[in-house]
């Protein structure tokens, strides 16, 4: 928010300080649908979540994704809820001299026919080709996390992670399905069997402090080298964390082999619609999915 205010992108007339709310806890979920899972308080810091013993043991994918994002200094300040509320880093969104439907609905999309190397290959339309920047959220999408929110009147609801962020549709100015006045209280991680076979792969222009060209979060559940369950989510390719459902579908019940991983990757990437400057993302996405699956299978997190 501060960055966006300095750039004149956001012009809030009022800001509400949430920092004194007691919403920073990381705790095992004792009741409800996600019993046995883990709850991350929305005001907890990214670095604490990434380094928490239970997160590292049960959700190494999330720890890895958080640590792939931003810089140590930013992760020490950034909250889990705030991470979900990041806005796109599309340069046309950030430069108020440029047209941008997300910043100023009706002005057009500067990136659609502009320099769109960093932009979407899935789910975009001519009104907005921006991508969602978070790494953490890509892992959360793969982990089928749930976002708990509360309205001003105290009413609560739980939003499945894949419904939390939106595709641009006719309202690219809306990044999420949060209602006005809703506050994120926690993020719930359901229990799963991915901990021993997961991997977050981030491809970027420099080794640290760069947004993903393409990233892939993978969780594999294997039974005698056969794929019992798999989740694949991608970053840097769409207006929201993108679940590669076609790749997942292809892999269920198949043997975990590099050949199958490559075939699975193509299943999803064949649907991609690249723009003028990001055609490379199709091939890169294919390679990244296959590579991330292989790394997850080999349980190699180096």
């Amino acid at each position: 928010m501060l960055d966006l205010m300095k750039e004149d992108v956001e012009r809030p007339t009022e800001l509400v300080d949430l920092s004194r709310l007691k919403l920073a806890e990381i705790a095992e979920i004792k009741t409800g649908a996600n019993k046995g899972g883990l709850s991350l308080g929305s005001l907890g810091k990214n670095s604490e979540a990434a380094n928490h013993k239970l997160v590292r043991q049960r959700y190494p994918l999330l720890a890895q994704a958080i640590l792939a994002g931003a810089s140590a200094q930013i992760r020490n300040m950034a909250t889990n809820g705030g991470n979900l509320m990041q806005r796109t880093r599309c340069p046309y969104f950030y430069d108020v001299a440029m047209p941008c439907n997300k910043r100023e609905p009706g002005t057009g999309c500067g990136a659609y026919e502009g320099i769109n190397r960093m932009h979407a290959i899935f789910g975009w339309n001519k009104d907005c080709v921006a991508v969602y920047p978070s790494d953490m959220a890509v892992a959360l999408a793969a982990l089928d996390a749930v976002v708990n929110v509360q309205l001003v009147d105290g009413k609560q609801r739980a939003i499945p992670f894949t419904d939390f962020h939106r595709l641009p549709g006719k309202e690219p100015e809306k990044d999420t399905n949060l209602l006005h006045g809703e506050l994120i209280t926690s993020i719930e991680l359901p229990s799963n069997n991915f901990a021993s076979h997961s991997y977050y792969l981030k491809v970027r222009d420099r080794a640290s402090y760069a947004f993903a060209l393409v990233s892939v979060a993978v969780g594999l559940e294997l039974s005698d080298n056969r794929i019992k369950n798999v989740r694949i989510a991608m970053g840097g390719v769409a207006h929201k964390p993108w679940r590669a459902l076609d790749s997942e579908k292809f892999l269920i019940g198949k043997e975990a082999t590099e050949a199958n991983f490559i075939l699975a990757a193509s299943e999803e990437m064949v649907m991609a619609k690249p723009l003028e400057h990001n055609k490379f993302k199709v091939e890169l996405g294919k390679r990244a999915i296959a590579r991330a699956l292989l790394m997850a299978m080999n349980h190699d997190t180096k």
Binding site: R89, A97, Y209, L213, F280, R287, R291
Partner: protein, 707 residues
Amino acid sequence: MILNKVTGTPVNRIDGLLKVTGKATYATDYPIANLAYGYLVKSTIAAGKILSFDLSKAEQQTGVLSILTHLNIAKLNENGGLRGGALLQSANIDFFGQHVALVIAESFEQARAAARLITVTYQESPGKIDFEKVKKQAVPSKERDKADLIRGDVDTAFANAAFKVDEVYETPIEHHQPLEPHSTIAIWEGEHVTLYNGSQIINAAQNAAAATLNLKPEQVRIVSPHIGGGFGSKGGQWANIVLAAVAAKKVGRPVHLALTRQQMFNSVGLRQRNEQHLRLAADKDGKLLALAHETVTHGAINNEFIEPCGDCSKIMYDVPNSLISYRITPMNLIIPTYTRGPGKSTGSFALESAIDELAHKLKIDPIEFRLRNEPLKDPSNGKPWSSRRLVDCLKEGAKAFGWEKRNAVPGQIAEGNYLIGYGVACGTYPARQQGSSAIVKLTKKGKKVEAVIELAAADLGTGTHTIVAQTAADGLGLPISQIQVLLGDSNLPPAAGSVGSVGAASYANVVNDGCIKITNELLTKSGKQFFVRPTAAELMISENTDSYQTRVDAKPPENAGQYSSHSFNANFAEVWVNRSTGMVKVKRFLAVTAAGKILNPKTARSQIIGGNVWGIGMALTEESVIDPRYGNFITRSFADYHVPSNLDIGRLDSIFINEEDTIPNKLGVKGIGEVGIVGVAGAIANAIYNATGKRVRSLPITPDKLL
């Protein structure tokens, strides 16, 4: 002359404590009362005219003191020597992000908030903003030293040669982006103005600011003891320095004007985009026959600047037929300017890539190929080298780096998912001394003698304070702790700038001359004969002199021009390329440099590895991208303009060749600021080829180019 005790040793920076405790004063660090703050408004079109301003909302904001535009600003001299125009003198817009107004308010935040309420109405005209289109109109340069340089007959030699390379190498626009953005505090006292402003050339900044403000130089004082980096962008000065002065005059208060990181991209110059066409030919024994290096680039509207991409090609190799040329076309962009290793860093990428390509075709090791084409004298002018130790750089570097482990066939060495490659590339930069003056002051307190050295030198953060103190310590016979160095102030004796690798040679020589002079004068004053020449410090005590000072003016040696004097280096890179993702890691980098006398191996190493880091950025990450519809940079912060992060940098090693060359200057100091970046990108690109078999001729080499 006693020049061996303190110089040449790895003394810690004498200003290090000031810096790590935050006490070193950069341009806006002065506690000045009653400061007002400026914020610049910039154009949102690349070409056209301002039709009108609506300032009404901005003027009503709390804290706003004044708003300057071309309609109400004082007349300034646009030919006063500042770079980049944008002095608010007319309604014309020549580039996107040109300054169009300056808001002055009680606080920075108030000025910024008000600036955003200003509406500017433009009449837009078609701009020259797409290099791909305008490059076809490029014409020969007006600069005499950029005229076609022809030796022999390249075309015939090329046509008849058995082995050749004929390729185009592209380098993008880059930005200097020093850590300290360009910032000024301006304070008037009567008709005199003091400008706290980071300046690589103190006296040039003073002269340009004065001329632009229609003042005499003595009415302007530049204060710049510490500079937070510049890389060429603080060599010439830009509109902001003078606009701060005009604003301060207007509101009758000191004014603070600092550019934001985003504003830096179109306020203080850039490294221009270059397209370099290389033609290289050799016989089957690897003897070079022809070298053509033809550069196409862009300047600004009505203003030309060309970085000399062909400079390395002029002197690196012995070749009988050669052509160096430049073609330039105007663009609606801020004027390009000197940028670290100007011309040499970009030019060496093209030349050294082409050399590597030709060596590969000849099946000759690229080091051996270079050795076979080592020139005995400067091929461009026939002058003898004052000293050229490139062969030693290559040989010692090959040994230290383990070059013998390289496999000449690309793509053969792998570890896990990584392909590993080795690359080599050479670099050079001229060695020069420039005329400078200095004052040496000695005082005696009891048995303790202390010295103050004064000159208007610049310290970019590279260690000028320290090498001046080291030179004086040896020259006067004092411990370094008893020497105070005052520099970066136009009230001090005029000195060379910290640009073009002339700083160290110019400063060390004038200080050394000053120490000799003051010792001679004290000797004469004593009226005594000494069997062993005493030091100035000893004379102060033996003659019981409380204080003494002298001023010295130094010039380069008269015969220096009869020789060709340059620093040389050989760069070695080991890269690991991720087969799946195309991401490149420079695991090891070694720079072997022959740069004459190294005054301080510690700060010198920092300079070299700093150059290496930028070279790695140049090779792999840095690019300023323009939207050809609007003419704006879409890379406008460090989130988009990727300087290397710590994680991008592997092991960096630096070796200095022991070189004594007192022809360019008495102390044999050749300078190291520029050469550290020259040859770096070439070595990395060559290593990537060795690793992958992919020859990327367009920088930066981002992952998508290696898929």
